[in-house]
Amino acid sequence: MSSLWVNLAYIVAAVMFIFGLRMLGSPATARSGNALSSGGMFIAIVVTLLSKGIVEFHWIAIAVAAGALVGALASRLVAMTSMPEMVALFNGSGGIASLLVGWAALSGAHAGIGAVTAFTAVTVFLSVMIGGVTFSGSIIAWAKLADVMPSGAVVFAAQRLINGAILGGLVVCGVFFAHAPAPDSYLFYGILGLALLLGIMAVIPIGGADMPVVISLLNSYSGLAACAAGFAINNNILIVSGSLVGAAGIVLTNIMCKAMNRSLANVLFSGFGAVKTAAKVEGEVKPIVAEDAYLILEAASSVAFVPGYGMAVAQAQHVVRELGELLEANGCEVSYAIHPVAGRMPGHMNVLLAEANVPYDQLVEAKDINPRMPNVDVAVVIGANDVVNPAARDDEASPIYGMPIINVDHARTAFVLKRSMASGFAGVDNPLFFGTNTRMLFGDAKASVSALIAEFK
């Protein structure tokens, strides 16, 4: 195929990506949108293979087969609760692919033409640097989420100074490299090493629960890396798709930060969660057992479930849906109140509840349920903590002050299902647990909900 046709096909692919992303805007069309987007990818791959540039298919066939196998298996086998880890790993592969493309462009250009232009050198530098940071950063993010390494923030003296120095070193190497680009120069290996190091150093000071923000930001970087690679090889489709992804990552990062009422700088540099604040709440805790909780639920005419990270840990989404259906059969109005940063990923709860077949029109956003909360008979908090902490609303001294929450303390009664009095990710005490309308149902969320279901039957 002549490069004119290849490029026209790229335009078609780009349009399919754009429509795909548009259709992701509504649950009803999202799945076909994703299919459309994958169709665009398919077209882009096929025309690239047919283009004149490709003369050797040997290695490609092996690599594609192996990659497809790994990707397909991973995506089938992963548990829905481990989505964040999975996305982190996929993101890492994208990053290293960009790094390798940049590197290959460099050695290809060097071997082919002998001299590499400064423009190519700069774009190679960018795609190696961004790709490298994305790769090693994603690996650390994965390790923290999967508890392969301690998930807390690792903070030490002069941390920012060291990171600044690495970044400075990268820039210096980049400048020299642009003047004398060669694939086998020490400068290039220096860039490679420093980029990987920077990714690691930038992510270790960030606490485990902030990982979604980090992943989303790294996702954005992986888009930018694709853009840089596109400039390196003069390829439109890389640039268009890369920028779409780059923008998507930044928008999502921003949404998450807003929902936590923290700035991006605070997330990235503060080592939040490393230091526990001292503010303690005193009061009387009123535990409840499943039998008594059943009696109250049985009499309730409106119940709101408020799921949080604990529901994911306990994998309790299926029993929660079952309980919800029993309550509905009992003539009770059931809704699910979803906080934007409940869990460990944006929309985490939505995915889990969808997995458990909860219809998405039963899910209510925080700002819509709060005004109705005083009319809710029972708010059942399932492994959520920070997102229902009234201190975020009332206590100016609290580190999470200002984060919008779900006002379960305004419901007539609130049940809190968790295993202990331990604090949530933010490490702050929760006055909700001591509220006069609050009853604590201690135990693993799945076990507690199952006990309630048993009472109903």
Binding site: L244, A248, P359
Partner: protein
């Protein structure tokens, strides 16, 4: 020729703006699939990887690096789309009373 980077820059800027507009419309419900779907699109580096791996030029290093890039990009693309599809397959409207 000198102007090609300018055209590319135009494309870059427009695509970034378009990305912002498109994504800010996606509701919170769909943020996880959006994240993995966008991630799958970033696997478009596979195009660059294919070109590097298949060029058959004088540099065996470029071919090798390219092949490795093809592998990783394929993982990203295939895995990303499949996992997104799996998640989205779970989103259902309230079924009709009839069933």
């Amino acid at each position: 020729m000198e102007l090609i980077p300018v055209y590319l820059a135009f494309i870059l800027i427009l695509a970034i703006f378009l990305g912002f507009e498109l994504i800010s419309k996606v509701p919170a419900t769909l943020h996880t699939p959006l994240m993995s779907g966008a991630n799958a699109i970033s696997g478009i580096t596979i195009v660059g990887a294919l070109l590097a791996a298949g060029a058959g030029g004088p540099s065996w290093l470029a071919t090798l690096l390219g092949a490795a890039a093809v592998f990783f990009a394929t993982v990203n693309v295939v895995g990303g789309y499949l996992v997104t599809d799996r998640m989205l397959g779970m989103f259902k409207k309230k079924p009709d009373e009839s069933d």
